[in-house]
Subunit: 343 residues, 2 copies
């Protein structure tokens, strides 16, 4: 343990956050839900909770499940969860839903379908949704993973809609990613260039696959036709993992043992090759730099007068001042004022 | 003019960047292309060029054209450009292509189709593509708009694929956005919940529309069936602009005069209501805060030892230190060292 953990608020042991953490780690589901809400809300309380939980993280295997709406992600998550439970592993599920009111009905249906998992004390389900930015959602998802990890869930499944960079960011938090594709994909590939109408979905999915495949070993899961990964999507040279493709019919449970075996094999690969440690460090590093950026800006903003910023924005908007000179000027002012105070 | 513009490098007038800016503003197309490359590459040279160009920005009308691949964006951009040229306005085109190799063929076809615009000195076409992050692409697109604006193009058309948050970010740089949708959309809306296969494209498009419609007046353009905007996508209460829907067949030029009129009407609306000034200031503010963040981090990183950062990352990855305490510690060290140096 580092001395930096021993901040006064950690030592007191009387704060609400500390009690919540203790109760959640003892299995209190209400405390877990409260912690997740605190973390999702953000701010100093969230940082306090996450700092307190951090030493216990890094234990769970985080499995991302991504794919287009209607591809069958929730059904798959449902049957995968049962399979993990059958062999005694606890499962945390984070369902990320940055979608519009239009898919609300379907998503709600999925949630109801998952209801039968709710009675199981070894399963915890959390839906994440936000009216804010997807970037913020990715951050909140990473933090929710940390909570469920620290609280003791052994497998954490993160279900996201597979479209756009932000979902890729969310998937980057996973150790293993399963890309769910719709039936008939193989037949459609040849038709993309000739026939644009209706093929966009396929393009989006392939793009997601390629992005996920770049430099990172990934799981692929596919129900329907067999698809070979294009060369562009192959893992980087330093990795020998070839993403397997599993044909599965979730409602019948067909192909599920193969899929679970593939996820296990990927976890073993990550552990045995040191790739898992390397990826965890890269993830920690990226998150830490993000956090430093955020902390710094908060610090600067607290030092600066809002009036000063708004006055500069007015000048920039009138094209009387360029933003680069203004930023340099504010940075210099901040340094100078720091010097004056402490001289 | 503010005294901050008069930095030494601006005064010397001998630097390559200064000469490029002068030549580009005098109509030298090679100099424009060089400037765009400098800006796309980023770093101090990019900031120097952008600072130099900044006083001349804010003149062009920036029109975003977004929609799914194959919806006919490039054909529309082509005929719109001819229409603007026919009435004597110069046109800059920025084609943003964050897509995979799969759509490369189609995009290339579009570019070739646009070739016939290349002979016109009143038209400048720039394709933007990157292997990097979409966030970086949004930044580069905003900067490219500034270059073409400062160089004197009167209308700047930004063509982007309409999917995901980052494309929305790119579209946010536009004064007016045209959402291009595929024929048959109206018929499909009712089918979304019943029939997921193939409907995902429609969902994605509607989502983009809704996102674009939130709080911002927008243009809508549609070839094929008539579509009414859902209530959720209506402009905010403080805005009275109702996005019109124009039915157009680009290859035949059908409906184009209506579309151009709608864009003109939107520009007039922005100017007459003060909404344009308000939006420009909001955009300037957001970009300035982004830049401050970036500048600060660069400044901090220059002060910190890489070894210190990497040592902390190692501790965090081993769960010996939590990232929040580590960030606070580094922030404190930075402040303290600032004090010591200047005490």
């Amino acid at each position: 343990m580092n001395e930096l953990f021993a901040s006064p608020s950690h030592r007191s042991g009387l704060r609400l956050e500390d009690r919540l953490v203790e109760r959640a780690r003892a299995g209190d589901r209400r405390a877990m839900a409260r912690l997740l809400t605190v973390v999702e809300t953000g701010g100093p309380d969230a940082r306090e909770v996450l700092a307190r939980l951090y030493p216990y993280t890094g234990q769970a295997h985080v499995v991302g499940v991504t794919g287009a709406p209607g591809a069958g992600k929730s059904s798959l998550v449902n049957v995968m969860t049962r399979a993990y439970r059958a062999r005694g592993q606890t499962v945390g599920i984070i369902a990320v839903d940055p979608t519009s009111p239009f898919t609300g009905g379907a998503i709600l249906g999925d949630r109801i379908r998952m209801q039968d998992l709710h009675g199981d004390p070894g399963v915890f389900i959390r839906s994440m949704a936000t009216r804010g930015s997807l970037g913020g959602l990715a951050w909140a998802t990473r933090d929710a993973i940390k909570v469920l990890d620290a609280v003791g869930y052994q497998v954490i499944i993160v279900e996201t809609v597979g479209a756009g960079q932000s979902e890729v960011d969310i998937a980057a938090a996973a150790d293993t990613t399963i890309v769910v594709t719709v039936p008939g994909l193989g037949d459609d590939i040849q038709a993309i260039k000739a026939d644009h109408d209706g093929a966009d979905t396929v393009v989006t999915q392939l793009r997601t696959m390629l992005t996920l495949g770049t430099g990172r070993p990934r799981q692929m899961w596919h129900h329907g036709a067999q698809v070979d990964l294009p060369a562009e999507g192959a893992p980087a040279a330093n990795s020998r993992w070839i993403p397997p493709i599993c044909k599965t019919v979730a409602v019948k449970g067909e192909g599920l043992p193969d899929l679970i075996r593939a996820v296990d094999a990927h976890r073993a690969y990550l552990e045995q090759t040191g790739e898992g440690v390397r990826r965890d460090r890269a993830r920690v590093r990226a998150e830490f730099l993000d956090l430093l950026r955020h902390t710094l800006l908060e610090h600067l903003m607290a030092q600066l007068s809002v009036d000063e910023i708004e006055a500069r924005v007015d000048q920039i908007a009138r094209r009387e001042l360029d933003p680069y000179a203004a930023a340099a000027h504010i940075l210099k002012m901040t340094n100078d004022s720091g010097r004056q105070v402490h001289r």
